[in-house]
Point group: C2
Chain length 311, copies 2
């Protein structure tokens, strides 16, 4: 395809930026990619990997003459990066971000926006439990959702151009209102992550069960929690601090619900438990039907007839 943007600048070079660079190169959606990262170590790794056409030492140099700037830093660093690049942005440039929280990012970034650029916040619902420049791969966004939360004054032409670029990376694009985004993600991502972190933490300092036992017998369910809980600590700290209200609200509901099940266990109310567990099965079926997972068994991992390990 012909390039959607002549020059794309990536600020931050972790899993998401690395995957954007690889997918953009594969699809030809970017004419030229410039990248930068805060630490010399990450920049050097990105150079070794030849992730971008050029790796520069700071964000100001990266955004020079860029038609699209993608902020790929933790949510808490977005405002600072924006203030650094502000004087160096090309008139007419599009700025987007990949933060997991949208209202706070909009509040942090907006004060630093020059009049002559277009800010279109975004969030790709893709990732793995790994991080850093070596973790990126071109297929990360394939058939995943990439949400955009355009602002009331967003230019429709620039919005559809950004959509074209994202589709070229393999993702499906959808628009969402920023506050609604933050609530939906608190349910589908942020609270599940906090819960997984907590359960792994409980196992960690339980003296009656040694750490080696927890690890050895993890396949019984716990392993899926550790995968979630292995995600990047800085990214997740920033998510919780910046989507505080929605997360605290969902956590409150979760605790209420957990207490009701806990009471059913204490009282021996088997009917309540059975009815509850039957209801949650239906949601799983919905996810398989929506194509966001398959019904291939996954708990055992060596889950195919014949025992071939698929991961």
């Amino acid at each position: 395809m012909s390039a959607v943007y002549n020059k794309v600048a990536l600020i931050g070079l972790g899993l998401i930026a690395g995957s954007i660079a690889l997918a953009a190169r594969e699809s030809g959606a970017a004419g030229r990619i410039s990248g930068t990262a805060r630490t010399a170590k990450t920049r050097s790794a990105a150079r070794d990997l030849q992730l971008c056409d050029e790796i520069v030492d700071n964000a100001a140099a990266a955004v020079r003459n860029a038609d699209l700037v993608i902020l790929c830093v933790p949510v808490g660093a977005m405002g600072k990066v924006m203030s650094e690049i502000k004087p160096h942005l090309k008139p007419g440039a599009v700025i987007t971000d990949v933060g997991s929280v949208k209202q706070e990012v909009i509040a942090e970034v907006s004060p630093h926006l020059p009049d002559h650029v277009h800010f279109i916040p975004g969030h790709p619902l893709a990732g793995t439990e790994q991080s850093g420049p070596y973790s990126g791969f071109a297929g990360l966004f394939s058939n995943r959702w990439w949400l955009l939360t355009p602002l009331p004054d967003t230019d429709p032409e620039e919005l559809s151009r950004l959509r074209r670029f994202i589709r070229a990376l393999g993702a499906n694009v959808e628009d969402m209102e920023p506050a609604h985004h933050d609530t939906v993600l608190a349910v589908t991502s942020h609270t599940p992550h906090l819960i997984a972190y907590t359960m792994v933490g409980v196992a960690d300092h339980l003296k009656r069960v040694t750490e080696s036992e927890v690890i050895k017998y993890s396949a019984a369910g716990f392993r899926d929690f550790t995968r979630i809980a292995a995600s990047d600590p800085t990214m997740w700290r920033d998510v919780f601090l910046n989507n505080k209200d929605a997360v605290l609200d969902i956590l409150g509901r979760f605790t209420e619900e957990l207490f009701v099940l806990q009471r059913a266990i204490r009282m021996g109310d088997g009917d309540h438990l059975h009815e509850y567990f039957t209801r949650t099965r239906a949601i799983r079926r919905g996810i398989i039907e929506a194509g966001q997972d398959t019904d291939a068994p996954d708990f055992g991992r060596s889950a195919q007839p014949g025992g071939k390990r698929l991961d």
Copy 2:
């Protein structure tokens, strides 16, 4: 190999029994397999699948002349099944079970044991979120742990013979004290399952976020919870009712821990969150090193370079 037991009887024909039947046939560990299930529908499905050499209508007929009897029914049904088969057991037969809870199963089964048989309780740490006779596959136990909790008077020769049979199915065998088993499993399996069920339940009745949104955007973390929460409701009801004390203890610790993290979010204590999330990463690394998972990225599912879906 030559058969470890001439005749094996499977009581209950769900995921575990079906997988035992297929793995035993593949390895030749059982001379002949007889199976039964409570419902005519399951028996008929097992006949269609030719899961066993014979499918009979009741447990009494299945255990006749069997050298090994494996109780593959939910934990809450073990005592009843044992009382039914008691008069029909062959002298010298070995009885084992696959229940996820051991102390209660021992308490329920023991009163019905004739003097002339050997009871060696067990628990294979393998399974998927699926259930029923169609869900079994021969590779389910491959490289998984199968815990045995022998009683003080267990015959060492019968114990080593049962171990040989289990290893022939592909599993690694380990002995554990029943009470310790129930604590370890409360941490690594039972409490994580309850938490996953709870989180899926919260998402289910949240009015501000529609069910279709929860399903559509599940790849952001929630999907792993729904897989866990799709497990068999009857089996899990019985697990919680029969491992009540250990589960309530771990749940109490979990809630305490969750409140500390919740307070850190409310207070904006980023250092606490970051330090906590860094610690949980180490456990994940331990699990990968122990060979109970790989570090292939899994969140995105289409997680291999090139975007090939592996599940």
